[in-house]
């Protein structure tokens, strides 16, 4: 590598690290339900070797009626050990994954693109560095970030295996392990590996030993999946999100009900429309993901200006479709949207990380093609500089100004504030009625480092027997000075404690009727009151209704 290339690459890596790391502990201002589940399970594994339900080293982690792929949680054990139960500790794996993707993208383009051009590989690293989807999800603890990194490393090793077959074994290992990181890779990694073997069977069969070793390694990585194949846990998520079931057809396929092969036609139409939407400029450049928790206000997965290089990148791919890398990228493009296209959600970003990575490469190639049209070297650098600054400024405005304030509650900022209050007021007892934060109990357990052995025996034990087959989960918690459950208005108001809930849980009429006194209000970052805490006054309550059994006691 030339010295100049190395320096530029190093600068891009510094930039990539900076934009992913800056204020990561406070923006977003908390952890979402999945992140906090991963965090506490990692803490529980660290302390006891078991998850919060008491299952020893689970193949997949039971979580709120579904299951989480295990790799992220296991990888988080070390950061939790080093940094404690903090927001940063939970996100650090995703952060490192995001930076690794930048590094491996650089090397893939540098070694395999037809030009073997350092400029294109630097642009590719830069495009990944500044793409909204890549920054956003590196700052969030997402299993998909890890799976993308493993897939990209596996992809790189697969390409290298054509020249040196021994890399095939390592590539299969990475591809196999990526299936334990996120659901989509169970399909994408398997199909891509199969596609690669079929397309390059001539070369791979000439090195039968490595081919067999590689496939054996991949098969071994799939053994854990076989153990839970029929338990319900393996297919739980697919059943939750897909339209393949009869009930989904009956609910949504009205137009096809009276047609011959109606259900098949319904499934084909759903699949094609879902598949197509992942190639739609509207989804990629103009509109954010519909899920507010996983998208930035008014900012799509790519910047609008990237649409031009995207088109020019495709132009390059079509013209150079015989190139080794391009051929593999095209196979990848066709496979990558399949898992997402099998689900009902319109444009679900997390499920198409591999496709977004592919599009980033297309945009890089297109950018390089367009920049080549500029003769002046100085002007080229100026354009790159301006676009980088514009992209980062746009991201800053939408993420650090808007997302932080408008979407703070998607990571339950108010619950995190409540945890601080309960810790400060250790002498008070709290009854918290907050059904909209399904992870509230786990949130308390994680941030206050609740003893996992106690949690396993009290909250987790009832669900251990049918760990992989039952979707039931705990909804009431009792730890420290906190009870998390619906408020019992007949009994709770006669005990001295603080009742906490949102504005729907405690009405003004109830405040007056039960002689409650306002103790605190918690506002979200948009300055709206989200949670309120009222202390009870048993004496005053008994004076107003002395016939209550609680007063006689």
């Amino acid at each position: 590598m030339k010295k100049r290339t190395f320096i530029l690459f190093f600068c891009i890596l510094v930039l990539a690290t900076f934009v992913r790391l800056w204020q990561i502990g406070s923006v977003p201002p908390g952890l979402n339900v999945d992140e906090v589940s991963e965090g506490y399970n990692a803490y529980s594994i660290l302390k006891t070797g078991k998850d919060r339900y008491g299952m020893f080293m689970p193949i997949t982690f039971k979580s709120y009626g579904s299951y989480q792929p295990p790799l992220y949680t296991y990888l988080t054990v070390l950061p939790v050990y080093i940094f404690g139960s903090t927001v940063f500790a939970v996100k650090v794996v995703s952060l490192i994954s995001g930076i690794l993707v930048v590094i491996f993208t650089f090397f893939i383009i540098r070694e395999f693109l037809i030009t073997k051009n350092d400029k294109t590989s630097l642009i590719a690293a830069l495009v990944i560095t500044i793409s909204p989807w890549a920054i956003f999800f590196s700052r969030m603890a997402t299993e998909a970030s890890v799976s993308l990194t493993l897939f990209v490393i596996g992809f790189y090793l697969l390409l290298r295996s054509i020249k040196n077959a021994s890399f095939f074994v390592l590539a299969c290992l990475f591809m196999g392990v990526s299936t334990h990181a996120y659901y989509s890779e169970r399909i994408v990694s398997l199909l891509f590996l199969l596609g690669f073997v079929v397309v390059y069977r001539g070369k791979l069969l000439s090195q039968k030993k490595w081919l067999l070793w590689g496939l054996t390694v991949f098969a071994i990585t799939q053994l854990p999946h076989l153990f839970i194949l029929n338990s319900g846990a393996f297919t739980r998520r697919l059943n939750q999100v897909s339209y393949l079931s009869l009930s989904s057809f009956e609910a949504n396929g009205t137009a096809f009900k009276d047609i011959l092969f109606g259900r098949v036609m319904f499934i084909v139409r759903e699949f094609l429309s879902q598949y197509l939407t992942y190639f739609s400029p509207r989804s990629l450049f103009f509109e954010p993901d519909d899920q507010v928790a996983r998208s930035i206000p008014n900012l799509s997965v790519f910047h609008i200006w990237m649409i031009a290089p995207w088109v020019f990148g495709f132009r390059y791919l079509i013209k150079n479709r015989g190139n080794f890398l391009v051929k593999n990228l095209i196979i990848l493009m066709l496979i990558a949207p399949i898992p997402a296209a099998l689900s009902t959600d319109p444009f679900y970003t997390l499920r198409v990380f591999v496709l977004l990575w592919f599009f980033s490469i297309v945009i890089s190639i297109g950018s390089w093609q367009l920049l080549e049209k500029i003769k002046s070297h100085f002007l080229k650098l100026f354009v790159i500089f301006i676009l980088t600054i514009f992209s980062l400024a746009t991201f800053y405005i939408h993420y650090f100004a808007l997302y932080k304030h408008e979407r703070g509650e998607t990571v339950n900022f108010s619950s995190t504030e409540l945890i601080k209050i309960t810790k400060e007021r250790a002498d008070d007892n709290f009854v918290i009625d907050l059904s909209r934060d399904v992870a509230l109990g786990i949130r308390f357990a994680f941030f206050r480092e609740y003893n996992p052995t106690l949690f396993q025996s009290r909250e987790g034990a009832p669900f251990l027997d049918k760990y992989y087959s039952s979707v039931e989960y705990e909804k009431r918690y009792d730890m420290y000075n906190i009870e998390i459950r619906p408020i019992n208005w007949e009994g709770d108001v006669y005990k001295s404690q603080i009742l906490v809930g949102d504005l729907l849980a405690i009405s003004e009429r109830q405040v007056n009727e039960h002689k409650l006194k306002l103790e605190f209000e918690i506002k979200d970052l948009a300055n709206n009151i989200v949670l309120v805490g009222y202390s009870t006054d048993p004496k005053a309550k008994c004076l107003s209704s002395p016939i209550s059994v609680y007063c006689k006691k």
């Binding site: 139409r269 197509l276 100004a401 304030h405 300055n527």
Partner: protein
């Protein structure tokens, strides 16, 4: 040539969209047919003239009045965002340029790009906008999904080639369509000729009719 003419007529007529246009406005349907045929066979001057006429009529009758109007709710959002920007950006925002961007420019740019995005969605034309249906819009299937492979091949030919006229038409049509009301009952009609021309491009490649 005879086969090509038959093919172009078939593509132009065998879709749900043109019959819906005919159902509402026969004259508009006739103009669209002429525009499509002239675009398919690259009658440049006729295409430009028809496009200009249709654009003017389309924008006169269906302008998106929301583009230049800020509703009370949107105003409320702007004021709220003003607080967030001021807190997060400090003096970079709290100056004339920053305030101008927030109140006078970006809301309108955002609305325009949103319209642009709506019309750039292939699902709008082949799957009645499924799975991202618009609230309040009248969604109908404009082309049969069976024509989608031809359209994709046409787009690939277009992207790889240098058909500047068709690409220019597409860009112009999108820019004008985005100024029109997105909920218009007949959809972004200016793009109809482009889609038929692209399907035609794909069809002549697939059926090996290109000389």
């Amino acid at each position: 040539m005879k086969n090509k003419i038959i093919l172009s007529v078939l593509i132009t007529f065998l879709n749900f969209w043109i019959w819906r246009v005919f159902g509402e406005d026969t004259l508009l349907g006739v103009v669209l047919i002429f525009l499509s045929i002239s675009l398919i066979f690259r009658f440049r001057i006729l295409t430009v003239v028809l496009f200009l006429v249709l654009s003017v009529v389309f924008l006169k009758t269906n302008p998106d009045t929301n583009l230049m109007y800020i509703s009370p709710l949107e105003k409320h959002w702007l004021i709220q965002r003003h607080e967030y920007y001021a807190e997060s950006l400090g003096s970079i925002y709290r100056n004339r340029a920053g305030l101008y961007l927030n109140y006078e420019l970006l809301p309108y740019v955002f609305k325009y790009t949103r319209n642009l995005g709506y019309n750039l969605d292939p699902n709008l034309y082949f799957f009645a906008n499924h799975p991202r249906e618009r609230g309040g819009g009248i969604e109908f299937e404009k082309f049969s999904p069976f024509l989608l492979p031809l359209f994709i091949v046409g787009v690939l030919i277009l992207v790889s080639g240098r058909d500047k006229f068709l690409i220019s038409y597409f860009i112009a049509a999108q820019l004008v369509n985005a100024l029109a009301f997105p909920g218009y009952m007949l959809g972004p009609i200016l793009i109809f000729p482009f889609i038929t021309a692209t399907i035609y491009l794909g069809a002549i490649w697939i059926f090996r009719m290109e000389t």
